[in-house]
């Protein structure tokens, strides 16, 4: 079967089947927002959502994680127990799946493989959920993505109203499709409807700029006086970095209790003044201007030089969550218009 159909009446049974096979991490409603969490029951999965408050990058790169435990005396170290459970990441949006694919070359660099990330990453089959209701802050089409992009996914589901169209992308996805219960073969009208829907959603997201254009314009923008004006509104709170699916900067800290403790890795951000502060007092990025510029340049320019693609997927979280309404689309557009 190339493409399958799961009717919504069977959704619970399908998720229950996945839960039998392994851990299912999926969007779950919490207060007035949605977060990715390990499903306690099939009913808890919330597949009727716009996007999660925090990106699902935390499933592979948690906000805080133990690198190892230590005993100070003798510098004895103990690796943490491996608590990674194989299973499924269900309901991830295409923009966020692309973001994970962008993080892979950072953590899976051949010389220094990040075992913590890779263990988690390998443990989950990625089941995406195509975007059918883009939000006002979405701009994936400007960054090289699309509402049904399959990058980083093993399987893509598309909500057709009373049913999901199920498209396997990788061998892992095809294997899973063969095992899933209650899957029917998709009919020609299902495929036609899906394609029509895809076009309609895409039409709602006209590109504001192209990744290429943003990259080349910013190549010459380091000394542009515009940064001075742009940064003045920024509080340097780093909310943008914490909600961003591709931000991956981290800090390493020791937490002590008497003669022992643990070395932990924590999300960090280039928006904080301490981020680059030397012990001598020298700071290569002493002010908000340099720090905001670093974030924009890293995403739209430096990252592409090193990894071939820009590191923004257009999920719009930084725009939605910014306390002073900074809008990265406007910043990049400003340089594209110059």
């Amino acid at each position: 079967m190339d493409t399958g159909i799961i009717t919504k009446t069977n959704l619970k049974a399908v998720i229950e089947d996945l839960m039998q096979r392994g851990e299912v991490v999926a969007p779950v409603r919490k207060d007035d927002y949605v977060l990715f969490a390990s499903l306690p029951s099939a009913e808890a999965a919330c597949l009727d959502y716009a996007n999660s408050k925090l990106s699902p990058k935390g499933c592979f790169f948690p906000q805080a994680e133990v690198l190892f435990y230590y005993q100070k005396e003798g510098h004895k170290i103990f690796e943490p127990p491996n608590e990674v459970k194989p299973g499924y990441l269900l309901g991830i949006r295409p923009c966020d799946a692309r973001a994970i694919a962008l993080l892979d070359p950072i953590f899976d660099e051949p010389r220094y493989q990040d075992v913590y990330y890779l263990e988690r990453r390998k443990s989950k089959v990625m089941i995406g959920l195509a975007c059918t209701r883009p939000q006002s802050t979405c701009f994936c089409s400007s960054t090289g993505g699309s509402p049904s992009d399959t990058t980083g996914l093993d399987m893509l589901w598309q909500d057709l109203g009373d049913r999901y169209l199920v498209r396997p992308i990788t061998d892992r996805g095809r294997e899973l499709l063969a095992k899933l219960p209650h899957v029917e073969e998709a009919a020609a009208e299902d495929l036609a409807k899906a394609s029509e829907q895809e076009q309609a959603v895409l039409a709602k997201l006209p590109p504001i700029f192209s990744a290429e254009e943003a990259f080349s314009r910013l190549s010459a923008a380091f000394d542009d006086p515009l940064w001075q004006r742009i940064y003045e509104r920024c509080l340097g709170c780093a909310t943008c970095a914490f909600v961003c699916p591709t931000c991956h900067c981290f800090d390493i800290q020791d937490e002590n209790r008497c003669g022992q403790g643990r070395r932990v890795r924590l999300w960090d951000s280039c928006q904080f003044s301490l981020f680059t502060l030397h012990t001598s007092g020298h700071n290569p990025r002493p002010c908000g201007k340099e720090r905001l510029r670093q974030r924009v340049m890293h995403k739209f320019n430096y990252f592409k030089v090193n990894n071939g693609q820009i590191a923004c997927v257009g999920c719009g979280r930084c725009i939605r969550e910014c306390p002073v309404n900074m809008d990265i689309r406007q910043i990049v557009s400003a340089y594209c218009l110059r």
Binding site: Y116, F222, D251, I252, N256, G261, R263, D268, L277
Partner: protein
């Protein structure tokens, strides 16, 4: 899979007070597991992360040459949490070490060239590693003239003093030691490093200059090297930057798209001219 975040255990074999102010010490480490020394395959100009459980990690340039045997030396100034803790150590203490990291000096490219080493203050550590490597008996013939110009504020601030004196006696090295301010009994030069470079005027022909020191020294030394005819791609600098992982992942040591931890810390001046001035 090898976990690059786990430090290997090393014992502090020896601690040497380098300066009169006693705030700069050299630490000689030996690996508890000889296999770890084997995999710690380094060359001059690279750095490593010294770990003190409970205090944290610091990236420090390796001050020993790989030709000096199984121990590894670091010269560390007392500055922050980790360095203070390290300075309070006694020989025998076990700490952690992971590395080596960074590109180091381009050892192949230096072969057959005249070498001009210019250092200032306690930034002389990886330059010491380089000098020791180059002047080794089997390798000295691979290089042309070796000129070493090194300065500190006062005679008491010069690190590796005994070695410097021994090097000064050698006929196959041109060693010029200077201090900003002389003291009674000081027999060497008095004057800033850039001025001494100008006075010594090493030829730029078939030569490579390696410059490490405080920013102010570098700022005034580079124009003089240009005057002497050194091209920007024949001048090497080693940069310092705040780091955490040392592996090119934690994201804080970048200058433009270059990461000091993996693309550096050694850059030619020509490379630096093409990088944003964010260091």
């Amino acid at each position: 899979m090898n976990n690059p975040y786990l430090p290997k255990r090393v014992r502090i074999e020896k601690i040497i007070d380098e300066t009169v102010g006693r705030d700069i010490k050299s630490f000689v480490f030996s690996f508890l597991d000889p296999q770890d020394r084997q995999s710690f395959d380094y060359h001059p100009g690279q750095f490593a992360e010294i770990s003190i459980a409970g205090a944290g990690e610091i990236p420090i340039g390796i001050a020993s040459s790989p030709t000096e045997g199984d121990t590894v030396m670091f010269t560390v100034k007392k500055m922050g949490v980790v360095t203070k803790d390290l300075h309070n150590s006694s020989p025998g203490r076990i700490v952690g070490l992971r590395g080596p990291y960074g590109n180091g000096f381009p050892m192949e490219e230096l072969k057959g060239k005249h070498i001009v080493i210019v250092g200032g203050g306690f930034a002389f550590t990886t330059l010491r590693a380089l000098a020791v490597y180059l002047m080794g008996e089997e390798r000295r013939k691979d290089y042309g003239d070796i000129t070493i110009i090194y300065g500190a504020r006062t005679p008491g601030d010069l690190i590796y003093r005994q070695e410097l004196e021994a090097w000064s006696q050698r006929k196959d090295l041109n060693v010029h030691i200077t201090v900003d301010k002389a003291e009674p009994g000081w027999q060497g030069k008095e004057g800033f490093v850039p001025a001494v470079v100008k006075q010594v005027a090493p030829s730029a022909k078939e030569a490579i200059a390696i410059v490490c020191g405080p920013p102010i020294m570098i700022k005034f030394t580079i124009p003089i090297l240009f005057e002497l005819g050194f091209a920007a791609d024949k001048i090497l600098n080693s940069l310092e930057m705040r780091m955490k992982c040392g592996l090119g992942k934690c994201g804080r040591c970048n200058i433009g798209h270059k990461y000091v931890c993996k693309d550096g810390p050694v850059f030619t001046y020509a490379e630096l001219q093409n990088m944003p001035p964010e260091y």
